[in-house]
Amino acid sequence: MNKMTNQKAWFLVLPVVILVAFSALIPLMTVVNYSVQDIFGPGQRVFVGMEWFKEILSDSRLHDSLWRQFLFSGLVLLIEIPLGVLIALAMPTRGWGVSACLVLLALPLLIPWNVIGTIWIIFTRPDIGLFGVTVNSLGLAFDHTARSLDAWVTVMLMEVWHWTPLVVLLAYAGLRAIPEAYYQAAQIDSASRWATFRYIQLPKMRGVLTIAVLLRFMDSFLIYAEPFVLTGGGPGNATTFLSIHLVKIAVGQFDLGPAAAFSLIYFLIILLFSWLFYQVLQHAGRGEQS
């Protein structure tokens, strides 16, 4: 679509710019303000320069939660994307089964995030939860409140349960958009099931899968509510991801300076990934049109 150049379009954008300036820009500048000061109380503050940034960057707990975050987001992508594609391939293509599957898939996506945490507490508790009791009765000790590996397994299961449907829906939409003629051509060449997937379905799903990977990466990188409700970041710090760590030092300890410095570093990491996200999306869009 060719766009007209019209500077008056700014007036249409202005309301949202003003609103977002209040909701995002001013708080962000306040955070910048905090990050270079040591604040003792009302009116008592000292400019400390880069001190908090130095302290935060050499903080081993921050390093731990950063690696934990990357491990988590990596595992999320490794499990959810292939699983989502497999499920999308297994879904029926016509008949009542399609709408039944779509409705069931949409269920986890409609549940509020902290309710997801609650559902999984109830589901995995070793005394009353179906999952916890079943695993325990199989002879494996399972308690997500006491053992860090169990907490990780539970958080991963919850995450896979919650978000794989999104990948499925995207992949399914991509699959349905492939014209029937491609499959007929593959049949004439007597292509195997794998060859059809590798050379027709996978390339045609490239666009939607790119979006799925990026969305899942970004959202898992910001994860807060579900593990906060489920494990509270524990046991110990085993499931303390970046957001949980940040809230712990900001609200729990009122360390405004370090928390502000941490916020800014976190924001810059996110900004970098957003930029990559934006670039990739622009290229993916262009690739499909040409």
């Binding site: 909701s23 708080p27 962000l28 499920i87 297994a90 589901f123």
Partner: protein
């Protein structure tokens, strides 16, 4: 073909089990839940549901949510629709940068913006007094980005 169907059914069962379990637990009394482990409610009770709809400390949450959602939807649609239209139809100075900036607000961790609103009350004036409205604005920027994404046809 058979394997695919079995796999799909197993996956859908995995999707439904936690929800079923929540339903099962919700229909039982506390003593019953802790007393015996059972795959289905043996003594069905609606007491829990009666409680959340009659006890104000429970149902006021729903009312707050409804008010919040109404305000939020109104505000975000009012500001987002013209902007989405502008982004999808016109080219203007700095449009790409502006769009990216709005996108970063969708991506930014809410925890990053939380700090200015969580300081001890006694210290000094909070950043804004209209806290509820501000949260609405924050969420509306999210809404906006979604709307703009749709309009641009990503």
């Amino acid at each position: 073909m058979k394997l695919r169907t079995i796999g799909l059914i197993l996956y859908l069962a995995f999707l439904l089990l936690p929800i079923y379990w929540m339903l099962n637990i919700s229909l039982r009394t506390n003593a019953n839940i802790l007393g015996e482990f059972s795959l289905y409610p043996t003594e069905i009770t609606l007491a829990n549901y009666i409680k959340i709809f009659t006890d104000p400390s429970w149902y006021s949450g729903y009312i707050n949510s409804i008010i919040y959602v109404s305000i939020n939807t109104t505000v975000s649609l009012l500001v987002a629709l013209p902007a989405a239209y502008a982004f999808s139809r016109y080219q203007f100075l700095g449009d790409k940068h502006l769009f990216f900036w709005l996108l970063t607000n969708r991506m930014a961790p809410p925890a990053v913006f939380l700090l200015p609103f969580f300081r001890p009350r006694s210290w000094d004036r909070p950043l804004y007094d209209f806290r509820g409205g501000l949260k609405g604005a924050g969420a509306s920027s999210t809404e906006f980005n979604i709307a703009a994404n749709i309009e641009r046809g990503f």
